[in-house]
Symmetry: none
């Protein structure tokens, strides 16, 4: 597909449920981030309903001011899913049946053991003439890319993606990004420095001079819950040799914040922990109370976790702590379930039960109820039992129940990582 040079982009999210505020629009932010990583700046984000007339108006406006327009949503099988047909009509292209997509849809329903494909699903195999069809590995709706001329003799590329993030994100990463890379005017080289155990403003103040003075590469904070991330971005001319200006800046950041950094690159904390354990041939198990399985879920979200992770005991009930993790009843009587002693006993018991090199235990008060003056909501005890010793750590977190739980997962995995490294 012949494409235009892309300087400016905009994002159009189609869906009446967005206009009614029934779901929060996370696609626009995700796509905006991905585009900015490619050096493409998006000047507008628009949400429009499943309405052909208003979507057509939007396409007129957008094609008049942007080189790239990414649309999400409205590719479903239902009557009000009309993005593909509206774009085709706007571009003056007929809708043609796309053989492979038709077969993919049939295969998908067969996989789901549904012999009969609902007739309206076939609509999802209709594509604008001349479009590059983007396969959907996670749903029935394929996407499409179409480059068309504008009235003022430019070329505009339209990208139609499905609405569900679980379908949209992999489709963008696998099929759209590789196309866009060819069309950007500058190449950006990003390096992420990810850290835990320091506040954003504290970290920023230590890098203030770099953030304000650096021009190439630039250093910018990057919002992320429960951790702090900085993006070091070097821009390379299209043909410029890959001369690395980033390394020096990175090592300066390491000099100032090294102790907090868990990753220089793109791996998430669970990935880093999983890789560390695998490299060293270590095994791990968890004993979770207030996090209720979230730490285990986070680690097993990484393919290949099974090489180091054996199992987890979610000990939500006191009796489970006593009977399954062999926490002495006296410990709970004397100190309570949310205590250093209980966390320590949970980790030790967990290590025996699962027979692993390390065991991580978490007990705390996630809220919203159950707090006291002495033990407020947000009080968390972590313990790691290893070959040499059992170490513990106290956290005092703030925010909603879900936030406290999510931040605890990160803090706990980082605590485990530090113990493995010492």
């Amino acid at each position: 597909m012949k494409m235009n040079k892309i300087r400016s982009a905009e994002i159009i999210c189609v869906g009446t449920e967005l206009l009614l505020g029934q779901i929060i629009n996370t696609n626009a932010a995700w796509l905006a981030r991905e585009l900015s990583l490619l050096g493409i700046y998006s000047y507008y984000q628009t949400v429009v309903g499943d309405n052909a007339e208003r979507l057509t108006d939007m396409l007129k406006t957008a094609t008049g001011r942007s080189d790239l327009i990414i649309l999400t949503g409205g590719l479903g099988p239902t009557q009000d899913d009309l993005t593909m047909a509206t774009v085709a009509a706007f571009a003056g292209r007929p809708m043609l049946l796309h053989q492979e997509s038709q077969e993919a849809i049939a295969a998908r329903f067969q996989l789901m053991h549904q012999r009969h494909v609902p007739s309206n699903n076939w609509k999802q195999a209709m594509m604008p003439e001349g479009a590059l069809v983007l396969p959907n590995k996670n749903g029935t709706a394929p996407g499409a890319m179409l480059t068309i001329p504008t009235s003022d003799n430019r070329a505009v590329t339209l990208v139609m993606l499905p609405g569900p993030p679980s379908e949209m994100q992999p489709m963008f990463s696998e099929s759209v990004r590789p196309q866009l890379v060819k069309c950007t005017t500058t190449r950006l080289k990003h390096c992420f420095v990810r850290m835990i155990g320091i506040g954003e403003s504290a970290a920023e103040s230590r890098l203030l001079d770099l953030i304000s003075s650096q021009t190439n590469p630039t250093v910018a904070p990057y919002a992320a819950e429960g951790e702090v991330m900085f993006r070091v971005t070097q821009s390379l001319g299209q043909d410029e040799k890959n001369n690395d200006k980033t390394a020096a800046v990175i090592s300066e950041i390491q000099k100032r914040l090294g102790d907090h950094i868990y990753e220089i690159g793109t791996r998430s904390l669970p990935e880093v922990v999983k890789d560390l354990l695998t490299e060293r041939g270590l095994t791990v198990s968890f004993a979770e109370s207030c996090t209720g399985g979230m730490i285990s879920a986070a680690l097993t979200d990484i393919p290949g976790a099974s090489t180091s992770f054996t199992g987890c005991m979610v000990a939500y009930d006191k009796q489970v702590k006593i009977q399954q993790l062999h926490v002495p009843e006296t410990v709970i009587q004397d100190h309570g379930e949310v205590s250093e002693a209980c966390a320590r006993a949970m980790a030790t018991g967990c290590r025996d039960v699962f027979n692993t090199t390390y065991s991580l235990a978490v007990t705390g008060l996630a809220g919203s109820s159950g707090g006291s003056a002495e033990k407020p909501v947000g009080l968390i005890w972590l313990a790691v039992a290893g070959p040499k010793e059992v170490v513990t750590r106290q956290l005092q977190l703030t925010g909603s129940r879900s936030r406290i739980r999510r931040v605890t997962v990160l803090q706990a995995l980082d605590f485990l990582r530090r113990q493995v490294l010492t």
Copy 2:
């Protein structure tokens, strides 16, 4: 302030950090929901950067098509905060110093024990001539409401609100909503029907006549991963008594899809399961393999889960299944870990270990590797052990590893729900 009748609205969120995807736009969804509850339908949501020229273009477009325009963001003290000045210029109104706002700002800094007010904060007391000023109890930036005539002799109301939700939401509720109520023509009443175990298009085809013929209330599908949702919306005249036209439609939907419906209302599936167990005084435990603790995490995300949920064994490793859940080694030798027999044994063992009324077990292949022709990725076995019997169910899911895991969680919880209900 004399205001126009409001039929259509749109929301404009101003902020470069939104365009870069550094923060997710929750304001648009929150405002859209508030407006729809007032019977004001918003046809567009736009995000534009802190840029006077592009914001002015946006205002031209928006005032041309909507009766009400709500802007959020760009009311801060810094140089790039230019929403108020841009709107004033667009409306041809001079900016005047607003005495009370100036005093409020001074008082606020005194509260923060800062004697000296930064000079650029005074800018926040400058308001467009003729605007209704909206006090800010949670920040320094007051908002404003301004009704102006359009070129086509309509009147358009512009509302400027601060960006932080903690300031924007109370300002809307306390100062804006009371004004809008006077100008709306209808009120809307929404009801949601949530179901699992049926595809979106299959469900819709059974309701096609309702979706297409119903005018009040309207029935519309609503996208959600792993489940299907329909929204039933009744519009009530301003003075109309709350005569319920919704109930009849709901019961018609129940007649056609009742078996798949798990909730008529707003509760999520984990909430429904937790409430069901609590009401009946039942306890539950889980044995998770491929979901790695996600089911347990989902249930414990609901406050009060502890009354019915005791614990979970994440048996990721074969030995854990054998030693902790007492799955006979022969079962695994003969049938493998991903098999009906293994799921059945896991559920039975789990029920003994945790001594609960019900136990739910899950074992399967989430991918991305490990699949075979006989046992493809996406093959999942569920088992529920209860007081009377052990029942099993097979799933064949498609998509990414994370999608397969997320959908399995919903299917497993629904399977448990159905067993409890039988």
